[in-house]
Structures are given as structure tokens and as C-alpha cells.
Symmetry: none
Subunit: 241 residues, 2 copies
């Protein structure tokens, strides 16, 4: 008899559907962090689904933090590091209300402990405006895939994402528990620095640091530029109890 499947432990394969060309992000981070990164689970800003139904997500946070500094006030590009991107498929933005996270990246960045895999997790991300987005993250046994479900469709709707648009997942450079989400339009200019393409591997993985600036097309600029002072404050994205 075959045991009930649990998410397989991390084992990296060749990437498939992730494209990753000369990212503007390269200039903002410290890729070296990644080179030796252990894929062991971090304690994200995630809550076990146990207490679920804090469904009041989105848009409440800004009001909790009156008069935020304008985005341009804090050029903190070095505060986050990219994890991976994914060009959205029609299904990712359609009625299925779910985002498939390519297995290799899911297992690397959002590992589900064999025990916590049952119900999934709540992952919280800050967007370019500092707004907090919570997504249910879980593993589907039947399709052997990792998905964001609950909450995802709201994000798609608000950002008006279409197939071909690209989303980016980042995390805080020093506090890996802070997650960020960004996006750019399909075909949006990727301004930026020349950097070695890595053949499609997860962002930064084999990149040289690459200098250069620009943020062309990305809509998570400013994402790490707002409210940096709120980094670990209870009540902030991901720390809402």
C-alpha cells in the first residue's frame, strides 16, 4: 500500500515555466545570500490555517498607519531579495482562483513540513503600496502541485492581472519572514542592468550580483520603500497575531 502522499521534500529539478531574463531586481539585492541558502523551512509570516478566517485582509493596514512616508523617501532596494517570478497562465488569472507555484520554487521557498501540509498555511505578502495580502498556500495531492488559493483572486482583480503578466515573489533580505509580492505587465520593458541569464533557474541563484538600476515595468517598486520602520511591529503584514 502506498502511503498517503505528503509534499515531497525539497529536491531541485530543472526549472520549467519560470522565465527569468536580466531582471531589474538584480541590482537591488545580495545574490550571494542565495548561493549558500539552505532550503530549510523558515518561519514565514504565515499562520497555520487553524485560526483561519481573518478574512478581512487587504486594505485595512494602510489605515492603521496614518500618513505613511511617500514611497520615494526610502530607497531601500537592498532590503529585499527576489525569490522567483512566474508568468501568469490563463488559469492563474481565470476562474480557477488559484496560482500554481512551480514545484521547485515552492519547495525551496515555501516548504511545507510534512506535518503542516495537511491544511496548508496562510502566507502574507506586502505589495508595492505596503498593503498586506494573505493567501492560502497548500499542496494538492491529486495534481502534486503547490498552489495559492484563497485570496489570490482578489489580488488578480485588484491588480488587473492578465495572462502573460508576471508576478514576482521576494523576501526581506535580513528578515526572511517578510514576504513581498510584485508584478509587471507582460511585455513591460525590463530596463535594467545587463546580467547573466541563468538559463531559467530561480532568480539570482546563479547570477552575478549585477549592478545597474532601473525598475522598468515592475510594480513593486517602492514595495520595500514604505514603512520600513514597521518592519517587525506586531500588527504589520504577517504579524497580525
Amino acid at each position: 500500500m502506498e502511503p498517503t502522499q505528503t509534499p515531497p521534500s525539497s529536491k531541485l529539478h530543472n526549472p520549467s515555466s519560470i522565465s527569468l531574463e536580466n531582471s531589474p531586481w538584480t541590482s537591488h539585492f545580495y545574490p550571494s545570500m542565495f548561493l549558500s541558502s539552505i532550503h530549510a523551512p523558515r518561519h514565514f509570516n504565515l499562520n497555520h490555517d487553524d485560526d483561519e478566517e481573518l478574512d478581512d485582509q487587504t486594505s485595512t493596514l494602510n489605515t492603521l498607519n496614518p500618513k505613511p512616508n511617500p514611497p520615494e523617501n526610502h530607497q531601500l532596494g537592498h532590503e529585499t531579495e527576489p525569490m522567483f517570478e512566474k508568468p501568469l497562465t490563463p488559469s492563474d488569472v481565470g476562474k480557477l482562483n488559484r496560482l500554481v507555484i512551480p514545484k521547485q520554487h515552492a519547495e525551496k521557498y515555501f516548504p511545507l513540513g510534512g506535518d503542516s501540509s495537511d491544511k496548508g498555511l496562510l502566507l502574507s505578502f506586502e505589495d508595492e503600496s505596503g498593503k498586506c495580502w494573505r493567501f492560502r498556500y497548500s499542496y494538492w495531492n491529486s495534481s502534486q502541485s503547490y498552489v495559492l488559493t484563497k485570496g489570490w483572486s482578489r489580488y488578480v482583480k485588484e491588480k488587473q492581472l492578465d495572462a502573460g503578466d508576471i508576478i514576482l515573489f521576494q523576501r526581506h533580505r535580513t528578515d526572511g519572514d517578510r514576504l513581498f509580492i510584485g508584478w509587471r505587465r507582460r511585455g513591460a520593458a525590463v530596463v535594467v542592468a545587463p546580467a547573466a541569464t541563468d538559463g531559467g533557474n530561480a532568480m539570482m541563484e546563479n547570477d552575478s550580483g549585477g549592478g545597474g538600476g532601473g525598475n522598468g515595468g515592475w510594480n513593486n517598486r517602492g514595495l520595500y520603500q514604505r514603512y520600513p520602520h514597521l518592519g517587525h511591529i506586531q500588527g504589520w503584514c504577517g504579524y497580525l497575531e
Copy 2:
């Protein structure tokens, strides 16, 4: 709030989509067994879906049983008894990947206990070659119907079934837990014995025993002729746990 619907208990209706004319099967079985058969649930070779994901169905079994006797070696026509037939609809062989089992037969032969109705069951059938086929069997509340889902499309593909082709369900005469599945092409000659048509009721139900031989057109000939010695051996179809 509406209570979760459970499959209605057995109540026979007028048959609908089951045709049943002069079956060649009549000659192989002991219809009398049927006349007084109780419709109480048997413990089929079915597994609760709990342990699901034995997804390795089909085709592994033959290799487990080396050097089977050739089909002709065991004329054991009396070892199985027909349950019912169904002419396949376009939907049964199309992209819906499901077979609707007429309610009367489902409730008679594959009753779902009120408690086991939740997730459905795994039913295992042997085909004409001795190959084991596992189908998920469940009740769809939305359509109030019983269906074979998972696994069905593979069977349709392998047998190249088309609308109008007819499938047959049988079980072992003495071990009702052993189930068998067969098929014949639409319009295939039904050789065989004259027998009273029963107006569409489940096979055999009101038939006289009917002698005669032949197997014209049926592709489950030999189905009960192979590996009879393996009847209850662990590891056989349905007992692979």
C-alpha cells in the same frame, strides 16, 4: 441549511438507459442466484478512498502473476454472473471522464452506505485479459447520480469505446467481491440463446435460465477464464489494498 445529501436507499425505478436483449451471458451463469438476491451491501473489492493514491492502477498485476494459464484452459463460465449492461452514451465516452451508472443498478449492486457515501469508493474490476481496473465510484449530489470517475477514461481509451458500445458488469458467482468488466461493440452480433427480454430490467432478473452458448461480440470472454486459481490471493485485483 440543507443536510448533506446521501444516496437514496434502494428503490427500483423503471429502467432507463439499460438495454438488455437476449444476452449471451445467460448461458454462463446461474440466474437463480439473482432471483432471491439480497441487495444489502457486500464488501466489494473496494477500498475507502481514505488511502487513495494507489494510483498505480492497471497493468501491474499481470506481471505479478507470471505465466498465467492461457484463457482457453479454464472454461469457467459458471464462475461469474452478469449484473447489468449499459450502452455507452456520448458523455460516457467523452471528455467528462465519467460513466453514469443507472441508479437502479448502482443501488442494487454497488450500494453506498450512508456513511461511505462521503468520498466514494474505489471499485476494482478484472477485464477480459485479467487486467485490473480501478474506478472511483461515487454519488453526485448535484445530479443525483452514481458515477465512475477516476480511472474510467483510461478504460475507455484502452478499449477504444465509442458511444453505442456496450459495457457489462459482472461479479463472481460465489465471491461477489470479485467484480468484472466487459464490453462489446455497438451492433456486434449477439450470438446466443433465445431468452425472454425483460423489458430492460437488470440482467437476469426475470430471465429464465436459458441455455445456449456463444459469446458473440463480447470482449470479456475469457475474463473469468484466466487465473481462476488466483481468486482470493492477496495482491490480486481488488486486494492490492
